[in-house]
């Protein structure tokens, strides 16, 4: 009986050890419009806000997703047991309507400011090119978004929220935010490698109607971080990998690192691979490349950020001193037949805290490579010694 108990204890210890060793695992809980009660002035159905609490042994990450007004996200890392407070009466676009019970160690927020449809007359694949004149802008706050889906996947330890907006002629933009509780490659191409400190954004622009002869889609992403503007600018790092096992055909990863993330691991980042897909079925042959601008400092602090989470969290006066930047990403590359080829573009990127995960060669590749290169060596050795022995005997 005692032995049995001991074994059970040992097993429990082992399991506990295993779990506690794995600091990268977080427990996810999702709430829609948390603690919102209908009153005369507040109609909770009007909000499309999602709060994810990602708790680990050591700390808590709050993912705030707002799908109303400008589509925006705010990620805050706090010590454990912090709570989120929202003043729902003032929530709609007023500063300081969102706060945490414990002051966050770090905050990284990002706004999907606009989608652009432009005429790429000279097929440059870049909205910033001087030849681009005709641009239609879809400001995300002017589109009507419907929160279609919040799915919690306990098995994969992730939560996804999806919003959708219809444009004329069956066209639509779709945006998905996914928070993860563990380190893994995401299920779909480009299989970005996320930690439990990062979330993924998926964008789809489908059947957007246009009269342009050479239409392309682009987006503008704004970022606002806890760093003071004096701390310097964000930097784009290009990492070249030998291994394209997880994103076939794509060897590069780009990291947009906030100043603190450049120096140590306490900042935040955006990570993407230079690939987007022109078909719902993401494959190598349905992939095309993209181009992007360097992060640009944003001077007009209030106007563009109004109606977004960073504005609701930071005070007007604080906003002035924070590092605010914008990045443009254009989907497609020269000679790929433009957006009109399939009238579909999808793109994924990660937003995360700390430093981006490093990807090494996978075990499978290492084993396969050792066999592939080892067999010839072995053959050389065995064959050589056989011949040598035979010669010697003769």
């Amino acid at each position: 009986m005692q032995i049995k108990l001991l074994i059970v204890l040992l097993i429990n210890l082992l399991i506990l050890n295993f779990v506690s060793c794995d600091e990268g695992v977080r427990k996810l809980e999702a709430y829609k419009n948390p603690k919102c009660n209908d009153t005369e002035t507040v109609k909770c159905d009007n909000f499309a806000f999602v709060h994810i609490v990602a708790e680990s042994e050591l700390d808590t990450i709050h993912y705030l997703w707002n799908f109303q007004g400008k589509i925006s996200t705010l990620i805050a890392k706090t010590s454990k047991n912090s709570t989120l407070n929202i003043n729902w009466e003032k929530f709609d676009g007023i500063s300081k309507s969102v706060n945490f019970s414990i002051k966050p160690d770090y905050i990284y927020s990002s706004v999907i400011n606009s989608f652009f449809l432009f005429n790429d007359t000279l097929d440059k694949g870049n909205i910033s090119d001087t030849s681009v004149v005709d641009i239609i802008r879809f400001d995300t706050q002017n589109l009507t978004w419907t929160l279609t889906n919040i799915t919690e996947n306990a098995g994969n330890n992730k939560v996804t929220a999806e919003v959708h907006t219809a444009t004329s002629n069956n066209g639509s933009f779709t945006i998905m935010f996914t928070a993860y509780g563990m380190e893994k490659h995401s299920d779909e191409l480009p299989h970005l490698y996320h930690s439990s400190d990062s979330m993924q954004v998926d964008l789809i622009a489908s059947k957007i109607k246009t009269n342009f002869t050479n239409p392309r889609i682009a987006i503008e992403i704004l970022t606002l971080t806890k760093e003071d503007v004096k701390e310097g600018d964000s930097k784009i790092n290009r990492i070249r990998n030998l291994d394209d096992e997880f994103t076939p055909g794509i060897f590069d990863v780009y990291h947009v690192l906030s100043p603190r993330s450049i120096n140590n691991t306490k900042g935040g980042f955006i990570e993407f691979r230079p690939v987007c897909y022109n078909s719902p079925n993401r494959t190598v042959s349905s992939s095309t490349e993209l181009s992007f601008s360097n992060p640009k400092n944003f001077d007009d602090e209030t106007e563009e950020f109004k109606n977004s989470l960073p504005y609701m969290y930071f005070h007007n006066s604080t906003l002035t001193h924070k590092l605010k930047e914008s990045i443009n990403i254009t989907f497609g590359m020269p000679n790929d037949g433009f957006y009109s080829r399939t009238n579909y573009i999808s793109f994924s990127y990660l937003i995360g805290l700390g430093a981006p995960l490093k990807e090494g060669l996978s075990l499978f590749v290492i084993i396969f490579a050792s066999i592939g290169l080892g067999v010839p060596l072995l053959v050389l050795l065995v064959g050589g010694s056989y011949v040598a022995v035979k010669r010697y005997k003769n």
């Binding site: 055909g249 060897f251 290169l373 010839p376 053959v379």
Partner: protein
């Protein structure tokens, strides 16, 4: 899909000399002139026609490739349908080359065989053009199918012609030139078809444009067909004038002979599969790899990709010459394979400028082609060579068809690094096969890996009344596999001597046109 492989076979060595022939010519009372079948001029005129016979095949094969976008838009073909235009060509030839080669050995003979295969090829191209004009996809497929039957067997016939006319002379150079000409045909196609399409577009619309363009391309088939006829006539004339005996000394090739083919021949076949699948499918998938991994523009990627063929085009005759002078074919095959593994590894595991990798691969590929194909002629008796080369080509087609199919899937699922590893894996198998040949040869008399002078030496020794061509078991290399009775020992020795290029006159000739 590249098809240069067909013309790379380079059997038999270089021992007989020009004077011998000319001396015989004088005995025959034939004058010296370019029309004299014994003269080298005559041979080189024949060489021009030999190259021209293959031109249409290479030119028309890549017609769809050169007009890929037009095929897809004008005829509304999906990528899968488009790919089928090529796979319907490859798959049947997994079996048909072998049969085609055997039929040359046994039924048609070389002249009629060439003309028949060329005719089939031409009909295939015409049907393809007709199907395109009427935008009937299945007729197009039928056309490509028939075209493929003709083209691949024609390549076997071309090999045999080269052996027939140039064995013991400039054979390696000839095969090199044929390979160069094949590349030339393919390149001309890629350069010319687009302008032709634009020109035809002024007069026609819809599927008619492509149809007309393909009918125009069929003009090359007419030219090649005429070349086949002329070549046949020249060959007949040479045969009469030089009293060439075509029948081998009573030996009739049978399909069942295949069972008696040696292990080393099957290892050569294995190399045919494993080596080439690491070259052609790589080139087919390479363009995007160079764009994505090394950031090349599509034009730059095409350039670095085509370097392999470019080098093959000019290096093959040179490599052939080197192998001719140094012998040691097995060592060269081994060396080429190792270098190719290195080139692939460099492309896979480094960011070194890919030109280094592809140029290295180009040379290794040329060297392998020059040293591997002659091995077949050293292993297999001449009267079965058509069948043997047919088998090589068949298994090669099989490998290429299967691997091309899987290549795309591997890229989609596992990426280009995995694809490179896949290729390196195949090359490792190829290396194993090469080592088996080497060890087996080492255990016998080592003829496959001798220098030319050593081969001559070995041949002279075996001319002694008591055969020295025996291994430790007291059985000849041929016997140990063929299991011939003692009475056939002389035949065996004769065949062996032929193979190493030292005939003992008299009854040895299988099909040596200019040596009677």
């Amino acid at each position: 899909m590249p098809r240069s492989r067909n013309s790379e076979a380079q059997p038999i060595l270089d021992h007989n000399n020009e004077e011998e022939i000319n001396g015989e010519d004088n005995e025959l009372g034939i004058e010296y002139s370019c029309c004299n079948p014994g003269r080298s001029y005559y041979r080189f005129i024949a060489l021009i026609f030999m190259c021209l016979v293959g031109f249409a095949s290479y030119f028309c094969y890549d017609n769809p490739g050169a007009l890929q976008d037009n095929f897809k838009t004008d005829l509304d073909l999906t990528t899968t349908q488009f790919a089928m235009l090529y796979s319907i060509y490859s798959w049947p030839n997994v079996v048909l080359c072998f049969i085609g080669g055997f039929l040359i050995d046994r039924v048609f003979g070389i002249r009629l065989g060439t003309i028949i295969y060329m005719f089939i090829l031409m009909i295939g191209q015409l049907i393809f053009a007709f199907g395109t004009t009427t935008n009937a996809f299945y007729i197009m497929l039928l056309g490509r199918f028939i075209f493929g039957i003709g083209a691949e067997s024609l390549a076997v016939a071309q090999n045999n012609y080269a052996v027939l006319w140039f064995k013991g002379k400039e054979l390696n150079m000839v095969f090199g030139l044929q390979l160069s000409f094949a590349r030339f045909g393919s390149t001309v196609n890629f350069l010319v078809m687009e302008p032709v399409y634009k020109y035809v577009k002024q007069f026609y619309q819809g599927p008619y444009i492509l149809g007309m363009v393909l009918f125009i391309a069929a003009g090359t088939c007419v030219m090649s067909f005429a070349s086949a006829l002329i070549l046949g006539w020249m060959d007949k004339r040479a045969e009469k004038a030089l009293r060439r005996v075509n029948a081998s000394d009573g030996e009739i090739p049978r399909l069942s002979d295949v069972k008696t083919f040696k292990t080393s021949f099957w290892m050569v076949c294995l190399i045919c599969i494993c080596y080439y699948v690491a070259i052609f499918p790589f080139i087919a998938l390479g363009k995007v790899f160079f764009e994505r991994k090394f950031g090349f523009t599509p034009e730059e990627a095409n350039a670095v990709n085509s370097v392999i063929y470019l080098i093959a085009a000019f290096a093959s005759p040179i490599c052939g010459y080197i192998v001719d002078k140094t012998g040691r074919n097995v060592m060269w095959v081994f060396f080429s394979t190792v270098v190719t593994i290195g080139a692939h590894a460099m492309l896979a595991f480094t960011f070194v400028n890919p030109y280094v990798g592809t140029i290295t691969m180009g040379f290794a590929y040329s060297m392998l082609a020059s040293s591997l194909w002659p091995l077949v002629a050293l292993i297999i008796p001449e009267y079965q060579l058509g069948t043997a080369y047919g088998i090589c080509q068949s298994v090669q087609n099989l490998g290429l068809a299967v691997v091309s199919m899987f290549g795309g899937v591997i890229v989609d699922r596992g990426g280009y690094l995995m694809l490179e590893l896949f290729f390196i894996g195949w090359l490792s198998i190829s290396l194993l096969a090469c080592v088996i040949i080497w060890l087996q040869d080492f255990n016998n008399n080592g003829i496959l890996n001798m220098s030319p002078s050593a081969r001559e030496e070995a041949a002279k020794e075996s001319l002694m009344p008591i055969s020295i061509n025996t291994n430790n078991d007291g059985r000849s290399a041929d016997e140990s596999d063929n299991d011939n009775g003692a009475g056939q020992a002389r035949d065996v020795r004769n065949r062996y001597l032929q193979r190493i290029g030292v005939g003992d006159g008299g009854n040895s000739s299988d099909c040596e046109p200019l040596l009677q």
